[in-house]
Symmetry: C2
Subunit: 668 residues, 2 copies
């Protein structure tokens, strides 16, 4: 090994060791073991520009084994990103740019949030699908604008998690040649040797999944270089390199033990390790000048790479101005809005329309004007109504905008995040009940503020005969509990149009559309007052009212709104001053000012009834503990949906009776 | 094919076809395609006793492809279980025993709830681990009491879902030879041919996972028989047989198309299919007498099988009375309670004790007296404190009661369900934030009323430096939203002991224990009044109070209770009549009578403050919409936990200030 190489590798190792030691917390073992392969990748292959981490032509790097965050932070600092040595010294401290696990911060070169295992692996597959899409749509003869690679370092944990197998199966099927994954095969997990629980033939599994595989010694730099080269040149299948590494490499007493995975080495072992690897004990966070000089070459190299790409793009822009404009929009996540004129309209004459069907109509109306919109379903497209006619399918041999995820909800969620990271707007469909299968990916989207759209249909017992295994109960509440996720449950076809508008315009986080399987009437608003489907944007609004202040408020969402309106009619006829509040989105409502919120729900009116075919958890926020919450706090049942709605109390009669009982109670 | 065989197979097919047709809903394609393999399995291999579905020596059958429920219902009826033809005619109707997807009903031979894909596959792995445990613990020379097999029919969807790969990897690692899976390789999913999205080499993948594999034609009964025989005789590895089937077999226009997957054939196609397979058009639900006679042989055969097993067991009971008693307990889920005397005690002198550590102490105190208790962690045993010393490890070459699940939370959840179905009480640990990875399995446990225990540690931002990717926020609320799941967040070490007692005694559903990473003081109850850690059983109780009715109530859970107690002290000194309610479990509290609940939370006291380091969603149920909910409705941050608690407002000072502001507001 050349001296400079060894020097750089040890610098990376000990920046991690010292940072973890100072923080008294973190994971030193992985950076110590993986520094060599990371060094080879970053200095001999990775095409990036530390001065502009947003350069669209860059290769992507994903540290799926997010617990090794100090490896990434060290590389970013050494290659010249906006991440100071001070930040490394503040590892895991309040307000630092160096949290325990990497969090999506493109401005300093962190491409995605990782830590929950398997997520980064699958994000990379989404990034590769985005690359394939951009390349096939925009590359032209002589203009290879989007021929970048997606590199990742993945760990035993990433490989064990089911989501990575789902994603790897799709990647192999789609022959995503831009993927080059380095699997740090260190054979140690927290509980001990992988012999305890993980003895499968990983290489054979990935071959079976259609991946190109190689094995290499993690400390033979030239072998690593040769393997990455071969992987990069393999264009017709994704590549994984099984790199035999040793966790905690260089630690005399802790190498190849779980002790070094998630805890500081300890003062004495740090000294022993530095001595063992011939590293000066002082100062901490030592960076030899020649190391900085060598690693910082990335800045100059990056500048040249981007400049030549930019020249290419400018030429391209002259030749293909429209395509270039499209590209700029996607890169900046700044999409045209001419699709709005194409949004469909619905009217009461349309009769009963399932909101999932309305959603499908929206998608098909705007598809041609939304090249940034790409999506599909986890094998439920015909039921989710997510198929866009006329824009082609995303297949191994040609790229359209309809993705077939297969029965792999979790991979779908994580792949959507990868697509969004490239500036595309992905949507993904499944039954609401199966949102559970993809929750960890939804959480990553919410935490990273990604613009993704979930199409969750069959949103209640209203799906009928399939029964409780397929009927969401707790799901609406559990999605509402997630920070930065906007949940929208439109009341009818017209509101579904607005819901899509909101979802397409909301860029700083994910939006979940909850849609019915069963038909629901398109509300004849004229009959009840002057509301508009556009009012959905405010999250909640008065859809039917009375003269003077109401004495009773009915609050409903989705398919229960028209029942509330029927109950309103009955109660009105009994001379009760009743208001109906349609509340499709709690999150949007809470974004309104206090005045509006108290105008819709006057604090003085304590007689309140909520109606939603799901868990009542959370509804007391709006009904108070004296109010009535009509919902479902048990599992559903298998039967035709009309019978279920009756049995579970979702009828105008029952709403009326509950309301009358409440008024009675309040008066006494 | 022999006439009687063909006759039986077509009977199974058309019972499914007719039932789906009558229900106008369901999945006919799978039963039509898979009837032959199911017939061979049930008539030539399956050791079961329709007259006593509880016979402990029986083979288990799992229909992982639960959408093919009519296949199972037909087999159960034909072989003589308590499932009448009337029930088949009531397929998917309100109150029937034949819901859209199979629901756990041992009394009629339904071994587990399936439908959500991948769950049944992984349940079977848990059943096989239970079989291995029971066999190694209780079988004796000449007494092969527990040598039964676990058979399953799995579909493309089961194989695509990540959870099945996780479970298959464990099964291969543990060499679970009792597993015999039939994979219905029909190459059709809802969106179309598997060519669209699923072209991996499934056989090679399973070989890589350590499975014995075979391929066979789904319509060659002798070949199927030979394959199952070989699989059953393969004792040193799990077996999967790739059975090439044709969805909708026999339907002239719909065989091998997605149309026949999830919808009735339609009147005309039913006629065409019956003609094509030479089946009488009338009557519907036709069962030839010779078919019933042939299939019902299962009753006599089953009686003999159980009788000879019973004779064996009686002999065994004389030789090994203690073991026999243990077995009876496990079989009936009726476990001894002598472990209670062994529960540890904690006192304020113990200082700060993390509730996860207290939990570990409980487990290790009772381990020797709880042979029915088996569990582990998804590679976080040292952090979850789930390891039981002295009771061995569950490994390929020997069975102890510590399971190493690897980094496979979802499989852990589904395997736990399989273990519980055998009468064992499984516990499983991971970080609370990763409960998301196993939610679909938790839901199945709750729906099936299984006695399983989740040990979710690191239950708030209190985990500190690992940061937001590892800090649960929405998880407490989203678990509370799930029906029949009891969630317990003990305030200190002493309450953790009671929490375990509750979890071990609650048999009709799962219990989740939410435990701290950080130390929390063992509350000195004498200082505050006369409460006891046993009061946790009531879900919520007054832990500190005032004379006369309070004017303010502080409600807290887990690690926030001691902060509420500090605030109580401060407020008391200001002359405020304040009460602290410790509310470790909403579900247990709601099971108490109204009188008790209103005694703890008098409706007249409107000034209420809730304190919990998680989403505020749901808390208004107890605070009303006027109350204050101190919680976290954003994602966390990476820093030492004491700093986080301060920054997020979890200090006695902040609680005091919020309370004073609220009183102010209420008075004005």
């Amino acid at each position: 090994m050349k001296d400079i190489d060894a020097l750089c590798i040890n610098t990376i190792r000990f920046l991690a060791v010292d940072a973890v030691e100072r923080a008294k917390s973190g994971h030193p073992g992985m950076p110590m073991g993986d520094a060599p392969m990371a060094y080879v990748l970053w200095t001999r292959f990775l095409r990036h520009n530390p001065a502009n981490p947003y350069w669209p032509g860059r290769d992507r790097f994903v540290l799926s084994a997010g617990h090794g965050s100090m490896l990434l932070y060290s590389l970013l600092h050494l290659t010249g990103y906006e991440l100071s040595l001070e930040e490394l010294k503040n590892f895991r401290q309040w307000g630092s740019k160096t949290p325990g696990h990497p969090e999506y911060h493109p401005e300093i070169g962190i491409e995605t949030t990782t830590g929950p295992l398997g997520q980064g692996f699958a994000n990379g597959v989404g990034m590769a699908m985005a690359q394939r899409y951009l390349a096939e749509r925009y590359n032209r003869q002589g203009f290879p604008l989007f021929d970048y690679n997606i590199y990742a370092i993945v760990s035993d944990g990433d490989i064990m998690e089911g989501v990575s197998n789902e994603a790897a199966s799709i990647a192999g099927h789609l022959k995503l040649g831009s993927l080059v994954y380095l699997y740090s095969d260190n054979r140690i997990t927290i509980e001990g040797s992988t012999e305890l629980t993980f003895t499968e033939d990983v290489e054979a599994r990935f071959r079976a999944l259609g991946w190109h595989t190689q094995r290499v010694d993690g400390y033979d730099l030239d072998a690593i270089e040769a393997a990455i080269k071969e992987a990069r040149e393999t264009k017709d299948m994704p590549s994984i390199i099984l790199v035999r590494t040793h966790i905690g490499y260089g630690s005399p007493h802790k190498q190849d033990t779980p002790d070094v995975h998630g805890a500081p080495l300890g003062k004495e072992e740090v000294i022993a390790t530095k001595k063992h690897l011939g590293w000066p004990l002082e100062p901490e966070f030592y960076i030899p000048d020649e190391v900085l000089t060598h690693m910082r070459k990335a800045v100059e190299r990056g500048r040249e790479l981007e400049e030549s790409w930019q020249r290419l793009f400018d030429e391209y822009a002259e030749k293909y101005p429209e395509l270039a404009a499209e590209i700029k929009g996607i890169i900046k996540g700044n999409h045209p809005s001419d699709w709005k004129e194409l949004l469909p309209q619905f009217s009461p004459e349309d009769g009963g329309v399932a909101t999932r069907k309305a959603s499908g109509k929206v998608l098909n109306s705007i598809a041609e004007k939304t090249p940034f919109l790409i999506g599909g379903s986890a094998d439920l497209a015909p039921s989710n109504n997510t198929y866009m006619k006329g824009v082609g399918d995303f297949l191994p041999n040609g790229v359209g905008r309809n993705i077939h995820y297969g029965i792999r909800e979790h991979a779908m969620g994580a792949i959507m995040n990868g697509l969004a990271l490239a500036g595309l707007v992905p949507f993904g469909g499944t039954f609401l009940v199966f949102s559970d299968y993809m929750r960890p990916a939804i959480r990553m989207a919410a935490m990273s503020g990604l613009h993704v759209i979930y199409v969750f249909t069959h949103d209640s017992i209203g799906l009928g005969e399939d029964g409780p295994t397929h009927q969401p109960i707790e799901h609406i509440a559990s999605l509402r509990a997630m920070p930065n996720l906007v949940v929208i449950r439109p009341a009818d076809a017209s509101e579904t149009v607005t819901a899509w508008k909101v979802a397409l315009e909301r860029k700083d986080g994910p939006t979940a559309l909850l849609l019915t399987r069963q038909g629901v009437p398109v509300i004849d608003r004229a009959k009840y007052g002057c509301s508009s489907p556009e009012d959905l944007e405010k999250g909640a609004y008065v859809i039917a009212d009375c003269d003077n202040t109401p004495e009773l408020i009915l609050i409903a969402t989705g398919s229960e709104v028209h029942l509330a309106l029927e109950a309103w009619q009955r109660l009105k006829e009994k001379g009760i001053r009743v208001r109906v509040v349609n509340m499709p989105s709690w999150e949007l409502f809470e974004m309104q000012d206090k005045e509006y919120r108290e105008d819709v729900l006057p604090p003085s009116v304590r007689a309140r009834v909520s109606i939603e075919a799901g868990s009542t958890l959370g509804w007391h926020r709006y009904t108070g503990y004296e109010g009535v919450t009509i919902g479902i706090d048990r599992f559903g049942a298998s039967a035709p949906y009309k019978i279920l709605f009756e049995k579970f109390g979702f009828t105008a009669e029952n709403i009326e009776n509950e309301a009358l009982k409440l008024l009675e109670k309040m008066r006494s």
